[in-house]
């Protein structure tokens, strides 16, 4: 179950985790992009976390909308509109709810996934964060409960690592063509972390990946 409280805790935890992983994500982006994905994400979720700290929100919709606006105004780059879009879709999906069950979480994630596809005009397999959101969303839809949530994390992590082996055809890494093979997509890694933290906040006890070395 996702409550106002767990969602707030998730944002705080994800922001903290991004701060830790900032250099790893920047380094990855440096190899196949412009080296700012960690900085962008850490800055954005720090802003979002600060924005919601000490505030009370009427419902999950209002909370997600506030996060979306904070991200939109602070991230920039490709990841800003994308993560902001995900939260806007959450806001639409969970409008007027103060808590939602895993079925509704699955719907929200599916809507977010759809929003990401529309915003970025990418398909699965192009070495973007869609490669992670899509299987995670599918796992959750197939089994909308605690186990599905854990399965989503497993699928997300696997997909993030698998992004290493394919060339990018969307995003900045696409300019590198075949040279982008051999490095994980930074947005896919930040997305896998997203699902790790979301699962940890909602079902708890998630074993978190240490991306430090495995990402390369």
């Amino acid at each position: 179950m996702l409550t106002l409280e767990t969602l707030q805790a998730f944002i705080q935890a994800y922001a903290a985790r991004l701060a830790e992983l900032c250099t790893v994500l920047d380094d990855l982006d440096n190899r196949i992009g412009d080296g700012d994905h960690g900085t962008n994400m850490a800055r954005g979720f720090r802003t979002a976390a600060d924005r919601i700290t000490g505030e009370t929100f009427a419902d999950l919709g209002a909370l997600c909308q506030a996060v979306a606006m904070a991200l939109l105004a602070s991230v920039g780059g490709a990841s800003g509109p994308l993560y902001a879009t995900a939260f806007m879709r959450f806001a639409q999906s969970w409008k007027d709810c103060t808590n939602v069950d895993f079925g509704q979480v699955a719907t929200g994630v599916a809507n977010a996934c759809e929003g990401l596809r529309a915003r970025g005009k990418a398909e699965v397999g192009e070495k973007t964060l869609l490669d992670v959101w899509t299987p995670a969303s599918e796992a959750l839809a197939a089994q909308p409960d605690e186990y599905g949530m854990r399965a989503a994390v497993a699928r997300a992590t696997k997909a993030a690592l698998a992004s290493r082996d394919i060339p990018a055809t969307k995003g900045r890494a696409a300019y590198l063509g075949e040279r982008s093979v051999g490095t994980c997509d930074p947005g896919s890694i930040s997305s896998a972390v997203f699902f790790e933290e979301l699962a940890d906040a909602t079902v708890g006890g998630v074993t978190k990946t240490s991306w430090q070395t495995s990402a390369w």
């Binding site: 920047d26 380094d27 440096n30 190899r31 196949i32 992009g33 412009d34 080296g35 700012d36 900085t39 962008n40 800055r43 939109l72 105004a73 602070s74 991230v75 920039g76 780059g77 490709a78 990841s79 800003g80 509109p81 994308l82 915003r119 970025g120 055809t169 969307k170 995003g171 900045r172 696409a174 300019y175 590198l176 063509g177 040279r179």
Partner: protein
């Protein structure tokens, strides 16, 4: 890499403060990273921008005959939609606003979101996307070519059209004509370092160069050994000419753009070869721009942009401009 800076997180803010301090004809919209003309004019407005680190692009092109506003993101990071929206609101004179966007996913998404918000407010808004970099193959399945230094020709020529009082549709048509006719390619002798990260964007051996690089420190399409300036120019120019559709007898404008650390002497050495090659092909250079127009922090290297001209583009290119980084009368 040593940087002349204070706190890295104030890099862009302090740069913008410096720009408005040095150029009283520009002003900054309070609380934003938007630079506008101090003396706006009733006409179609042009807004451009992108990540910082490309100076003089884009704030240096705000002024008479070019842009009305430039939006600066963090270094190499697209500005956010709210910033772009502030710029649009500030410059709209009721005759509409044209966004000049460089083709990067981030820039396109952030500017498009701002455009959506602006139209919801009833502002007539159009956009063009510059994709002049022939290093990257274009295809409907990929992200398309990048927007690089050729963008400055769009600012200049569409800016002259707007300054002349043309309407939004016409200014957009002209901007698209420039985009269809400008082709660029760049190379790097050394990387650059984003202030916040402090690490070079890539590492090159003493004899290596990157060919086909963008303007954000990204690696290029391939790496090769350093060769003579003439040979490097030929590599870029051959590919540009092949993509450009420029033929013997055409008239062009050329930009030989330094990426940040390359001395002007070397840019002229490279330009000499471009001129020699074009002369041999009977292609007339109507205007040559040699200098730093769209940089990548302190990267050493250069790009060549070739713009095929017709009478309309030529007369707009020749129109006066008065901005910090581009002046002609």
């Amino acid at each position: 890499m040593k940087k002349l800076m204070n706190q890295p997180d104030q890099y862009v803010d302090q740069m913008l403060e410096g720009i408005v301090a040095a150029h009283p004809e520009l002003k900054r919209i309070a609380g934003t990273q938007v630079i506008v003309r101090a003396h706006p004019k009733a006409k179609v407005a042009l807004v451009s921008g992108g990540g910082s680190g490309h100076e003089p692009a884009h704030a240096g092109y705000v002024g008479v005959g070019m842009l009305d506003a430039a939006v600066s993101g963090s270094v190499f990071t697209s500005p956010t939609p709210d910033q772009v929206l502030s710029a649009i609101r500030a410059v709209d004179q009721g005759q509409g606003v044209l966004l000049v966007i460089k083709n990067y996913t981030g820039d396109v998404m952030n500017f498009e979101m701002a455009a959506d918000l602006a139209s919801m407010e009833g502002i007539a808004i159009e956009k063009v996307i510059v994709a002049d970099d022939v290093a990257v193959e274009n295809s409907t399945y990929t992200v398309g070519q990048r927007g690089i230094a050729g963008t400055v020709f769009v600012h200049k020529i569409a800016g002259a059209a707007a300054e002349a009082g043309m309407d939004l549709a016409t200014v957009k048509r002209i901007a698209e004509k420039v985009i269809a006719n400008v082709h660029s390619m760049g190379m790097a002798l050394s990387p650059c370092t984003v202030p916040a990260s402090g690490k070079p964007s890539f590492v090159l051996g003493e004899d290596e160069v990157e060919i086909g690089i963008g303007i954000h420190g990204e690696p290029g399409t391939h790496r090769e050994n350093l060769r003579l300036a003439d040979e490097i120019v030929d590599t870029l120019l051959d590919r540009i000419l092949a993509h450009s559709g420029v033929v013997d007898g055409d008239e062009v404008a050329v930009m030989l753009n330094g990426l940040g650390a390359t001395p002007q002497s070397e840019l002229y050495i490279a330009y000499r070869r471009v001129a020699e090659r074009l002369r041999a092909r009977n292609i007339a250079v109507h205007k040559a721009l040699v200098g730093e127009y769209m940089t990548s922090l302190e990267m050493a290297g250069f790009s060549i942009s070739l713009l095929k001209l017709d009478d309309e583009l030529m007369s707009l290119l020749d129109a006066p401009a008065d901005t910090p980084a581009y002046r002609q009368s």
